[in-house]
Amino acid sequence: MAIPVLFIMCLSLLGIAYACWSETLYLNGSVQTGELDWELRPMFTCLDTPGTRDWNGDCSWEMWQTDKDVGGPTTVVPSDSDEDGDWDTLTVTLNNTYPWYFEQIGFHVRNDGTIPLHFENVTIDGQLVSSGQTIFLDLTEDGKPDVKIMYGDSIGTQLHPGGILEISFWILVLQDAPEGATLTFTMKLLAVQYNESIWPITMPP
């Protein structure tokens, strides 16, 4: 008598369990991140193009065009060093220069990413520079500066996707530059996401 009762109880228990109505909700999360990216864009400009008379300058950044085409021509060539489809490196070469030879390099940068960026800072051979600041570079490491650079402006500017900035800098060859030499330096322009910059966030125009 006890066995059938137990059997019925077990079945009914199982029956209740199976019969319990249920509903499951699912949340499928997907986070698509944006891209922080900027690129070099034309126009790439310089003063000493082929057939152009040289420009000279002096210590106080006074410039004048001479009556001679001795130095140059300057070449400005963009390249895609990381092969991600946009230009990230600009190779500038000044030829047959001499003390007081002056050159101005200009180019554009464009935010080709999907989030705003801040033009955070500029370093020249690791030396942090600010807008309008003149720095002297001893490229031969003989204790005497060989070239003088002045970076233009736009540091701290916020660029929205598609936004473009014009950037320029000046180069002056100094008296202690050696003859027949090849002097090199690297300028690094750093952009960071707009909301983690040291510069204030601005609204789009």
């Binding site: 070099l40 130095g71 990230d88 190779t91 007081w100 390099i105 003859e179």
Partner: protein, 193 residues
């Protein structure tokens, strides 16, 4: 035992904090653009070339002569007048060549008369050959692969002694074309020693 647990918990929390801080720092997105600049400087260089000397000794009286020899680097011109005597004019054609890549201008001559007797003359004269410009003179500009022409003129005065050896030095300084400073006052030519 409870102290040990507290220490372990504290350490764990600290590690978490440190890791999250590092994570935030590395996590900031950034993108760098580079401008690689190369400045190639030119060269400023000058060299002498020398021709065959001559003088104004009368025909049949060619007893003395002027010659010039160059040092291996062609920076030094040695002028020799042999068997010289007073009142003869000796001429040596010379060029100063721009062998660099930048124009230069003759900034200065420095005549050091040394032991040359008084009232003698040592100077640069214009090149007598027509259609050859420019002449060697202060302020003359010479472009690369071109030259300035002239004559070294030596004239001994009657103060010269027999069997003597006189020496003199002339230093010519050229400067890059864009840093030439005109002398004031302008020196006269010829420059007596």
């Amino acid at each position: 035992m409870s102290s040990m647990i507290k220490k372990t918990m504290s350490l764990f929390v600290l590690i978490l904090l440190a890791t999250s801080l590092i994570g935030v720092t590395y996590g900031m997105w950034s993108e760098a653009l580079f401008v690689n600049v190369t400045v190639k400087t030119g060269t400023l260089d000058a060299e002498w070339t020398v021709g065959t000397g001559y003088d104004n000794e009368q025909p049949g009286k060619d007893f003395s002569n002027i010659t010039g020899t160059l040092s291996p680097d062609k920076k030094t011109l040695t002028v020799t007048v042999k068997n010289a005597y007073p009142c003869i004019d000796y001429y040596l054609p010379v060029d100063i060549n721009n062998t660099g890549t930048i124009p230069w201008i003759i900034q200065s001559f420095n005549f050091v008369s040394g032991t040359v007797p008084p009232n003698s003359v040592i100077e640069f004269l214009p090149d007598p050959a027509p259609d050859r410009d420019p002449d060697i003179a202060i302020g003359v500009q010479v472009h690369p692969n071109h030259e300035a022409y002239g004559l070294v003129h030596v004239h001994l005065s009657n103060d010269a002694e027999e069997n003597a050896q006189y020496t003199f030095t002339v230093t010519v300084v050229v400067v890059q074309w864009n840093e030439y400073t005109p002398p004031t006052p302008t020196p006269t030519t010829p420059i007596p020693v």
